[in-house]
């Protein structure tokens, strides 16, 4: 019997190409089609990178929380792997959102960090919280307990995000005039189109990277299982603890 009949990553290249095309289109639109914003000039263009990054980050964290709930309800470790991978990728996107936000702040207000931009401050807090996800997993040895505790964390952190946004936004005196509502609600049409294309492109990039990580984990497990069947020493086995969920080739 073959070790696994399921092939992972078969459509990975299609996702990658789609992400590359849409993101390139978004950046071309941002550079040549979208108008130069009157107040901030060219530096406002980072909006088309920063805000999609932030939105996709939140979608990833929510997906991680939902997968965690599914894991707690079913005990199916595939949900744990989804939750782990989504949070892992979102954390990287979150860092990207923070860095681009910081660059934007420098360009717009001359400072690398402004405390009265509530969304950015909220993202920093959310980043600091989710950054503890990996250390938490790493410090629990038993894989079943690691998955369960990580799922509890993912649910708590998911519920924390909106609460944190409310608290930080209320604390903000709104000194800076808000040129753009970040929801895109009052954007002119050509900016809106560019913005939506950029969000779709960023989402495709997230999905590609997510699937890439899943594929890597599964193929490593499959290689390990095949080596075991050949009687080879399992040299690739993770030694000691790991923050990642253990994948067994099905």
């Amino acid at each position: 019997m073959p070790t696994s009949t399921k092939l992972y990553g078969t459509r990975l290249s299609a996702w990658a190409i789609a992400a590359a095309i849409v993101l390139t289109a978004a950046f071309v639109l941002a550079a040549f089609y979208a108008p130069i914003e009157a107040d901030q000039g060219f530096s406002q263009k980072i909006f088309y990178v920063h805000v999609p990054l932030a939105i996709v980050t939140l979608i990833g964290f929510v997906f991680g929380g939902v997968s965690a709930v599914q894991y707690l309800r079913s005990g199916d470790t595939r949900h744990d792997l989804r939750s782990y991978t989504a949070i892992h990728q979102s954390l990287i996107f979150c860092l990207g959102a923070l860095i681009t936000g910081s660059i934007w702040a420098k360009a717009a207000w001359g400072q690398w960090w402004v405390w009265d931009e509530p969304t950015l401050v909220s993202f920093l807090i959310v980043f600091l919280l989710y950054a503890t996800y990996q250390p938490l997993r790493f410090s629990i040895e038993d894989p079943e307990r690691q998955a369960r505790y990580a799922a509890v964390f993912a649910v708590v952190a998911g519920a924390f995000i909106p609460l944190n946004f409310i608290a930080v936004r209320l604390a903000d005196p709104l000194i800076h005039p808000r040129v753009l509502s970040k929801s895109g609600g009052n954007l002119p049409g050509d900016m809106k189109l560019t913005f939506y294309v950029a969000i779709i492109g960023m989402l495709l990039l997230f999905i590609t990277l997510y699937k890439y990580e899943m594929t890597a984990k599964h193929s490593r497990a499959q290689v390990r299982a095949l080596k075991r069947r050949l009687g080879a020493l399992d040299q690739d086995a993770p030694r000691g603890r790991s923050a990642a969920p253990s994948v067994t080739a099905s």
Binding site: T132, P135, L136, S139, I140, Y149, V152, A159, F160, L163
Partner: protein, 230 residues
């Protein structure tokens, strides 16, 4: 399920916790000493003989928060080391009883700490003291914030006690989760400590604290069973 009800079980565990702390005071003493030392540190670090307004509010809440972390770090340690958790799991009672008992324990510890730490703050650092009536507002904020700290602290303590690096996990998990409490509580008490005389208590920050307490209480209730499954 037979056996004692949830509240009877929670009362029994709470009584045990308070009895332990009364016979061999450990956590509370450490928390109180910490708060006293923190005020001395703030005096020298800020180079101020007295603080008021936002600064006073911040000093008080940083001290309470960090002192609370000491309590959170100790919350389940004795039970794990002495087999109390296993004993509880063998008993035919609802797991939620442990959540109730531990949350109430931490809440009681925090109130007990503040009975010492807040007057000490008034004597050592606080600029113009607010009137007796204004302390009622401070008490209200303290109770709301303590509830939130107790609920989140219990959840974090239950997670951290099963990890290898318990102290590290407690701090790095609890601090970001408690930032909204610090925002709400320090904003709420800042006008009371104002140098120009106590202002009114801002209602929306009480609402934020109450919302935080409610959401995390429900979450803890829903999730706690998964943390004590084995």
């Amino acid at each position: 399920m037979s056996g004692p009800g949830t509240f009877a079980a929670a009362r029994a565990v709470l009584a045990k916790e308070l009895l332990l702390e009364r016979r061999a005071p450990q956590t509370l003493v450490a928390m109180a000493l910490f708060s006293g030392t923190a005020y001395v540190i703030f005096h020298f670090a800020l180079q101020r003989d007295s603080v008021s307004g936002n600064l006073a509010s911040g000093v008080l809440w940083v001290t309470v928060l960090l002192a609370a972390l000491l309590g959170v770090g100790r919350l389940f340690v004795a039970d794990r080391d002495e087999g109390g958790l296993d004993g509880f799991l063998l008993a035919p009672v609802d797991r939620t009883a442990l959540l109730f008992a531990k949350t109430l324990t931490l809440f009681t510890f925090l109130l007990a700490l503040e009975i010492v730490a807040v007057p000490l703050f008034d004597i050592l650092l606080l600029g113009p003291s607010p009137g007796i009536g204004d302390w009622g507002g401070v008490l209200l904020v303290l109770v709301l914030a303590d509830l939130g700290i107790a609920v989140v602290g219990t959840l974090v303590a239950a997670i951290a006690v099963r990890t290898r690096s318990r102290d590290l996990i407690t701090s790095i998990l609890a601090l970001p989760l408690l930032i909204p409490v610090v925002i709400g509580a320090s904003r709420a008490t800042a006008p009371i400590f104002a140098a120009a005389g106590a202002g009114s208590l801002p209602g929306r920050w009480l609402a934020v604290l109450a919302l935080y307490d409610l959401i995390f209480a429900l979450l803890a209730w829903a999730l706690f069973d998964f943390l004590v499954e084995d």
